[in-house]
Amino acid sequence: MNTTTPPADTQGVLIMQLVARSLVTAEVRAVDLPGTDAHQCDFAVCAALLTSQALQLLPPGVTVDDMTAPAERDPVALLRGAEQLLRGHPIQDLPPGTATLLGDLSALIGRSRP
């Protein structure tokens, strides 16, 4: 009987790293959002919670420290980019919990749409 754990889908891990990196940048860039301080703050808190959610889905020891930050500066565009990354990959190849992350991400994009 094979008792070894199958290797994690490296493509799925890479996508989750890119998503987390985009979310980190979106949170930092919340200050560029149009609207009131309250709107920016709410966006930043939600982005921080999403970031944590995405980082929890990475395998132990995998970080985003060496990932290049996206060049995009618009925080909502960064979220949309993260959403497209997730939607462009079969959900079964991404870590369990991705569907919840995707739902929360879509909800934040919906609320942040000007």
Binding site: T25, A38, V45, A48, L49, L50, T51, S52, D65, G110
Partner: protein, 484 residues
């Protein structure tokens, strides 16, 4: 927002409806082919959700309000359209539309919630039927709006194809003109069926939609839990991520506090003159200082992003949800009248009086962290802060800033290191300003009645209002002088 979706069925359907409405202003940018590819999934998930709702209230057989159940017809029409599309060259395979996908996801989520929580067997509860009728009205309204947006997109596509017809009658676009014209007429039919139901039920059915009453003690419980977990997280594990989440949430908390206290002042629940002349500005300044702190720590956290403590993120999400439930109406800030209709403002004002005291204490904890030489941060974050601190407003290096700030090996490995003296001095200055602003706001709020969940319970039991003087915040001599 939490790791789990805590929205009710009504809230999920409202989100789907908002997403559908968002299609209409963007008609020029809509991708007709992508929408047509996603539409069958939207209808399929809507039909599944529809089938799980309690049976519709009995409709009169005749008269202006009678209308047949539209869902089987819409599902059948869409299935036929989808079958036809599979054999045609247009829209063909390709990407799906993210907004229609989001609507389908919302319908799926609502169906899961109903399937998981519905009581077995038929119900005679009129309120349940009324809520189901409201859900049906929302579903069909969402389909109606989406179909309308899609029809406009197909129309735009048809016109674009018409413009490409050569003088010899050749049409270079795949599918030619006959396919989009056929799709257009079939979408017309779907729009008419859904429109008939909408004109009968929307928005009248929504008036009887079930809404949870916000319970006053939710804010008190959420704020108390947040206070405990914020303190614990910073003391036990003072990461840049925890510091930024605490600062950001404090900014959010004080922002909502201002909205609630302003409403309380307008409603006469607290002294309006005292609020306007003593508390309004210090409260806003305290909020702004947490905002500045949050932005600064977010820069630190971005260099070594790690998951935050789950209990801290849950507490932050709950405090946000508890406050937004009261202060937000649709997508904007609720009016004072709406806020007053949702909660007992005297009670909430009393709860929020304690927020400012604990906010000052949290500011002291932040200062403790930045003055503690044993606390470390990622080398790249410290280096970035040192570089930012060693340049002036024009981006030029200031005198004495030529030396390396951080060891190259630490930088390469992004090892945890203590703050450099210059960065520490900068952060201590920020923390002092944070303490001073929050202490000023706490003192300015000393006239507010303090009120806790326990006193609320006591008040209900004895019908006697009791208040006590605010407890002094943890104050430190000499910490109140802002540097900037």
């Amino acid at each position: 927002m939490t790791r789990r979706d805590h929205r009710s069925v009504g809230e999920v359907l409202l989100d789907a409806d908002h997403t559908a409405r968002d299609l209409l202003p963007d008609v020029g940018d809509l991708d007709a082919a992508a929408m047509l590819r996603t539409w069958p999934e939207v209808v399929q998930t809507a039909a599944t959700l529809w089938s799980l709702l309690p049976a519709a209230a009995r409709l009169p057989a005749t008269g202006p309000h009678s209308a047949p159940d539209p869902m089987p017809r819409v599902a059948a029409m869409t299935a036929a359209l989808h079958r036809g599309n599979r054999t045609r060259r247009w829209p063909g395979p390709g990407p799906t539309d993210p907004r229609l996908q989001s609507i389908a996801d919302s319908f799926t989520r609502a169906a899961e919630l109903i399937d998981r929580h519905h009581a077995p067997g038929p119900t005679r509860n009129a309120a349940v039927h009324a809520d189901a009728d409201a859900a049906r009205a929302r579903i069909v309204h969402t389909l109606y709006i989406t179909c309308h947006g899609m029809r406009l997109a197909v129309l735009a596509h048809t016109r674009a194809v018409e413009a490409t017809v050569t003088p010899w009658g050749r049409i270079p676009a795949p599918g030619g003109l006959s396919t989009p014209r056929s799709v257009l007429s079939r979408l017309d039919a779907v729009e008419r069926v859904t429109g008939a139901y909408v004109s009968r039920s929307f928005p009248a059915a929504l008036a009887r939609e079930h809404r949870h009453e916000p319970y006053g003690s939710r804010v008190a419980t959420a704020v108390a839990a947040w206070d405990v977990h914020a303190h614990r997280a910073i003391v036990a594990n003072p990461t840049a991520g925890h510091l930024r989440l605490v600062a950001r949430t404090q900014e959010l908390l004080l922002g909502h506090t201002a909205v609630l206290l302003s409403a309380a002042a307008q409603a006469g629940a607290i002294d309006a003159f005292q609020y306007a002349t003593r508390l309004d500005q210090p409260l806003d300044l305290a909020r702004a200082t947490w905002g500045a702190s949050g932005r600064s720590w977010a820069q630190f956290a971005s260099h070594a992003a790690r998951p935050d403590s789950p209990v801290l993120t849950q507490a932050a999400a709950e405090v946000r949800a508890a406050l937004r439930e009261i202060t937000i109406d649709g997508s904007t800030t609720a009016t004072p009248e709406v806020i007053a209709s949702r909660v007992n403002l005297s009670s909430v004002a009393g709860t929020l009086a304690t927020v400012l005291s604990s906010s000052t204490d949290l500011a002291h904890v932040v200062r403790d962290v930045v003055t503690d030489p044993a606390v470390t941060f990622p080398a790249r974050a410290v280096n970035a802060a040192a570089v930012a601190g060693s340049t002036n407003s024009r981006g030029d290096g200031v005198k004495g800033s030529e030396a390396a700030h951080v060891d190259v090996k630490d930088l390469t490995m992004n090892r945890p290191i203590p703050l450099t003296p210059a960065v520490r001095a900068l952060e201590v200055g920020r923390a002092d300003y944070l303490i001073a602003a929050n202490q000023t706001a706490a003192i300015a709020a000393s006239w507010l009645p303090t009120f806790t969940a326990a006193t609320e319970r006591r008040q209900k039991a004895t019908a006697t209002r009791r208040s006590r003087s605010p407890q002094p915040a943890r104050a430190r001599a000499g910490a109140a002088a802002p540097r900037r």
